[in-house]
Amino acid sequence: MKARNITEKIMHGIFIVCGMISIVAVVGISAYMIISGLPAIKEIGLKEFLLGQVWKSTASEPLFGILPFIMSSFLATFGAILIGVPVGLLMSVFLSKIASPKLASAVRPAVELLAGIPSVVYGLVGMIVLVPFVMDVFGVKSGSTLFTAIIVLAVMILPSIVSVSENALNAVPKKYEEASLALGATKVETIFKVSIPSAKSGITAGIVLGIGRAIGEAMAVMMVAGNVANMPKLFGSVRLLTTAISSEMSYASGLQKQALFSIGLVLFVFIMIINVILNTLLKGGNRNEN
């Protein structure tokens, strides 16, 4: 009896320690980002940093304006959502409502597998297949463009959108749909007027999750976007917040390095905002279902 008590207590302690590790990591990373990100912003000036249109970190008179990165990140994410959401939503409708269970059980693992592919592989395929393809089809001189990055990101966020939306659609009470069908609505009408509206909060959560994935992606984007600090053009080379950090970090020094940490801080704030939105949405969704 006593020995059991001791093991209980020890295990209890181990559980607490493991639980604390994630908190320590989050608090540590947050504190580090803020401490290392603020000095450069202070030196450059918040307005010049966030709204400056020119990034020339190693010029003799360096300029540290990250508006091109913010705009590019925003547009790349927006474009990926624009393409990824309709496709992902319809795919989840297909899996949840249309496909026979047998077919769905073949398609679903494929979507899940998509989520498991490392981002560097997306980048590699994008670089070797998509970049020349964009160059040929759209007649642009270089295929490493914002558009290419959008396509890659759109595919990358599909799994997040599909799996969350499909769960939400499956959770729609059968009686809603049966009532709609009994009133004479067709299957398509039922899907768009009853099923999707009822699963709204879950689908939105999937989209926000997709936004989070798209805005935080660096590797795949770096391999297809060209990485020049231009103000974004659809068929121009762009550099995103994430790639701005990873492409210059290896040789950076002094204020340049500090400014890269500041970009990290900006990105961190963006992701935090997205997470807060996501949590609010998920909580809202639960309340509705209850």
């Binding site: 190693t58 020349p132 001189k141 270089s142 490493s144 020049v228 080379s237 210059e248 020094s253």
Partner: protein, 287 residues
Amino acid sequence: MKKLLSTVLVTVLCVALFAGCSSKEEPATTASAAASAEATEAALSGTVATNGSTSMEKVIAALSEAFMAKNPDVTVTYDATGSGAGITAATDGTADIGLSSRNLKTEETGLDATVVALDGIAIIVNKSNTVTDLSLEQIAGLAKGEITNWKEVGGPDTPVVFVGREAGSGTRDGFESIVDVKDACKYEQELTSTGAVIAAVAANENAIGYASLSAVDETISAIQVGGVDCTEETVLDGSYAIQRNFNIITKQGAELSAAAKAFIEFALSDEAATIIKNAGAIPPSGK
């Protein structure tokens, strides 16, 4: 979290890579040195502080590894700060040895520059490009975006795509300062490694880029600059224009520590030539 993990992994891999290098070089250098220098160098100890050019990182890392393997009591440190900072450090005496990938300017007096290695930067184009020779002015025009079509320099009627390295890269700094296009380049792609530049040029028939001579392979063509091929020989005899010296900077009249002296001697020795070659540069003796 994923980013953090990958950073940690990359760091670990880098360390592993360096560890691999050292174990490869150790037997060669120690074996040949053991007999000749045992008596004099066994007593060396202390720290040799080097500071300067980021381009010289590979060469200095390889040299100091081999040197430290021979002299276990000596630590060679390296701060990658840039050539200008390296020259300043040598002047101020904050470093034993300054590293500079450019030659000293006339106003930088009281210093000695010793060439430890040469570095050629090849101008590379796609295999299908018919242009074989460009002048320095033409290259500058292409880099600055003043020449936007290949037909202006005798090539096909296709747009020019200028591919280069990221800010802070030593190769970029070398190219931009020699061609005199510093801070004026209009890049279409900025990539983070020489390999990526070569891959991008190999994939895009409109592309032009630059890469360290040692990295040039058969997937792309290195063109002539002012009628001169980019080879080790033309870099050595100075006829190839886009090249630079890797210099060791020391202060005139300053008393160097025995360890620092031995390190410079080692860097200029014949056995160091192989190490420099393996690190991607050309030893000044050509061996």
